[in-house]
Symmetry: C2
Subunit: 138 residues, 2 copies
């Protein structure tokens, strides 16, 4: 199901206008403890994972680090807990389409990529929630 609501295109904010541009990233061969430290230092729940060419190859979240606590065993590296199929957005995408992606996949952030699949920002449910602050102003 893919609904594209009809709308006044020029009135819809674009992802570029609300995304965060300071993004902390990690690589898949780093230890989980390093991911945990970066998540805390960056005060974020989401770290995009980049390959050697700075291209997006996965995402790791505080939710995934929690897996390592719940079921210890031999998970040691980011690659043991990361999600490889990343739902993403672009700077030009309309924010309501991005909001639908979050809803459909039950996730709270989308890496924002350029045409070379390099991460140029992060869009979170919190960024979208902020847009609501002005919605019912008189």
């Amino acid at each position: 199901r893919r609904t594209r609501p009809m709308r006044e295109t020029k009135l819809v904010p674009r992802v570029r206008e609300v995304m965060e541009t300071k993004v902390v990233c990690i690589t898949e061969d780093e230890p989980i403890t390093e991911a945990a430290l970066k998540l805390l230092r960056g005060e974020t729940n989401h770290l995009p994972i980049l390959d050697g060419d700075h291209r997006l190859v996965g995402i790791v979240t505080t939710y995934d680090v929690t897996k390592a606590v719940a079921r210890p065993g031999d998970r040691l590296c980011v690659r043991d807990i990361m999600t490889r199929k990343v739902v993403r957005t672009t700077p030009e995408e309309a924010v309501d389409i991005a909001a639908q992606k979050l809803e459909r996949h039950n996730i709270s952030a989308l890496p924002v990529v350029d045409p070379q699949n390099r991460v140029i920002g992060m869009l979170t449910a919190l960024n979208l929630g902020k847009l609501l602050g002005g919605r019912w102003k008189a």
Copy 2:
């Protein structure tokens, strides 16, 4: 700073209309591993912490569990990583006021409490983001 935007009161959705009512909770004497399991089973990032009378006394998130991974040491129980001062909302609060609370405190969920401080729901940035889906519809 507490801004209450002027608005058509009857048009503003209330927290009750968008909150989640299935809430997984925990107590502060449970081990962190149990919190991790509940977070994963509930597919959530937030667990409200209840006392013996089912009243809200704190909150623990995947972010807090990540702290235990980043800096191990002797953190064992939920009480060692929980946040005690919980920003909260009520079912009758307007969603834009709740959105402002999330923004001001840089958090992504608010427990919804009744007058006896018992948790009756959870409001997340994702619930608010969903409201945006319909915003620019023609």
